[in-house]
Point group: C2
Chain length 366, copies 2
């Protein structure tokens, strides 16, 4: 069934969400405000999203019977994470619309396919090479130079499944430690800034993107996002154009995040695409409090077949992730003027775990 | 147990909410954002608030066993409506903190007790008289004049349990039709405007109120709220002072709405209190999208023993209730610039039923 031919959801209809983390939770909260119900599918009984829905399915993604029952109880299906197993997506898509279309995951789950896709669109990326063996790795190093980053093609996130190769490192040892035969080598990018664009594309093809966000990572995990990014308008326009080009080329329906690098160039700063996240994105959390419509509501509107909204920003916005023990500072954040505290309801504050975030809106700086 | 001596809630703790309507639903959504769970108690299996919580208790308020089980599963209890049966409140308060303190309901559930309370604080109200019989009604009419409004002392809302007496009407017939022995007659107030103040009072006694809201009713049901109200600063200050005086005198913990009239006076406009709502209030719904912190989050913060936030308003805000068939216009509202649509998940759009609301923020007019 083509997404564009679907009937819009009606208030009271049910959205199925694959994944029960904070993204699923915030999607469900946005759907509730619009009078839509959600049912969450997650194998983890402690899923944060379970707290905010009446109906949850706690089962493995390989449990075909559970997937079929889930599909029968919802009107449309979406997901909060890009690593939805293809087999699960197939079972579901045979029964109910899955949005964004699950075939998009074939591109975004594979770093090589994703970079080839972006390159075919005429959009710049870091130099990269397919790596399948010690010999191809040596060839890639010879071509791209060091430092460079060796990454598994699939299932990497937050710095997992990747390692930096520096001059003098032994490529053979790195290859062995990655424990894969499907990797890519990415040239090191001497970026000025990391930015991202959160864009929504509706079932009718309308694309609405937010102001470009500037991001700071710590130990490969997003720590701080600021909107708007401190970049020239031309660079911001280019970044948003790139996100729209990608969304259009994917025939995307929903919200996606495109992570990019701003690098110095002879003719001024250039924008390279780092990664496409086919889902709501951590660097868009500021939109919950800093804009008239959040990325979560835009995603719900898109997959419901409803019109997207034009976001208005409430000022200069800074979003800080509460990672691991950071969450114990929540009480201090509660008294910061203009701060909004979001806690995800996770029980254990393990190192590196995203436990919540705080948005501070400064209305004085529009 | 004194509220002020309670330990603050911790993230992951559970708030029990009596009542499953849209106010309970929006309270639960606000609690979820702060990492707090909610359990909703309501006799109606179709309760809108059930959609957004994992645990719900569907039972009558007279079901002592259900109340006891509910109390055992939550850490603090609050309510979304002022007509909580005293017997239910007693059962619960013996087991867990009930906030705002349930004894406040004795005042606010009874129009006569409420007006006496406000009067004792030196705050103006419409002229009123206790009415218990045809003779006391005739005496009241002689004293207050007509037109005047005859109201049951208890269980009135949205115009229910009240009738206008006009010159020439037969008081005896009015008395008979009201089917009560406990009523008050209220003098007709030739008001310039209806306004309200939404105020939060924390467990530590801190009071934070929002900008005064101006309200328009239609068939006794709130139709439109605008913030800020178009009134002189001195009148707004007086309105907020009145709300604080009431909150302090009640030893209130949570959010309350105070409905007031602005009437012309010899020395300029005067403020009279019409009604106290010991709960989040429809005229405060604009704070969800028009302020940096909503009335729902303030209520949750207060009953959690957390600090209140100082709200910043995002512009000039207009909130329109979607009543009955109005809800079928939701799709049109979705495309209005700056509009945020809230639908409550109610199945049947019966006449007079509050089905949702829309907030429009105009950032150009701060």
């Amino acid at each position: 069934m083509s997404a564009s031919r679907r009937e819009p959801l009606k208030p009271g209809d049910t959205i199925g969400i694959l994944g029960g983390g904070q993204l699923g939770r915030m999607l469900a909260l946005a759907a509730a405000r619009l009078g839509l119900k959600c049912q969450v599918f997650s194998p983890d009984p402690d899923s944060p999203a379970f707290d905010v829905v009446q109906n949850a399915t706690c089962a493995e993604y390989a449990d075909v019977e559970a997937l079929e029952a889930f599909a029968s109880e919802v009107d449309v299906i979406t997901y909060e994470f890009e690593n939805v197993p293809a087999s699960a997506a197939l079972v579901l898509a045979a029964r109910k619309p899955v949005l964004p279309d699950h075939t998009i995951l074939e591109t975004t789950q594979d770093r090589l396919a994703e970079k080839d896709f972006v390159t075919r669109l005429g959009i710049g990326t870091a130099g990269y090479a397919d790596v399948t063996s010690p010999q191809t790795l040596r060839d890639a190093v010879a071509r791209l130079g060091l430092p460079a980053v060796l990454k598994t093609r699939r299932f990497g996130y937050d710095g997992k499944g990747q390692m930096m190769l520096r001059p003098g490192d032994d490529p053979e040892a790195a290859w062995a430690s990655l424990e894969t035969r499907a990797a890519i080598l990415e040239a090191f990018v001497p970026f000025e800034r990391e930015i991202s664009v959160i864009a929504a594309r509706g079932a009718d093809g309308q694309v609405v993107s937010y102001d470009v966000t500037e991001n700071e990572h710590s130990d490969h995990i997003l720590k701080i996002s600021k909107a708007p990014a401190a970049i020239p308008d031309a660079v911001a326009d280019e970044a948003r154009r790139i996100a729209k080009t990608i969304a259009d080329a994917l025939g995307y329906v929903g919200v996606l995040g495109v992570e990019m690098f701003v690098v110095p160039g002879a003719d001024g700063p250039q924008v390279l695409v780092n990664e496409i996240a086919p889902r709501v994105h951590n660097s868009g959390h500021w939109t919950l409090d800093g804009a008239s419509v959040s990325q979560f509501e835009q995603h719900i509107r898109a997959i419901a077949g409803w019109p997207l909204a034009e976001p208005l920003r409430h000022g200069t916005v800074t979003m800080t992730n509460l990672i691991g023990d950071d969450v114990h500072d929540y009480a201090g954040w509660l008294t910061v003027p203009g701060a909004t505290v979001h806690l995800y309801g996770k029980r254990l504050a393990m190192p590196g775990r995203k436990m919540g975030h705080v948005t501070v809106v400064d209305p004085g700086k529009p």
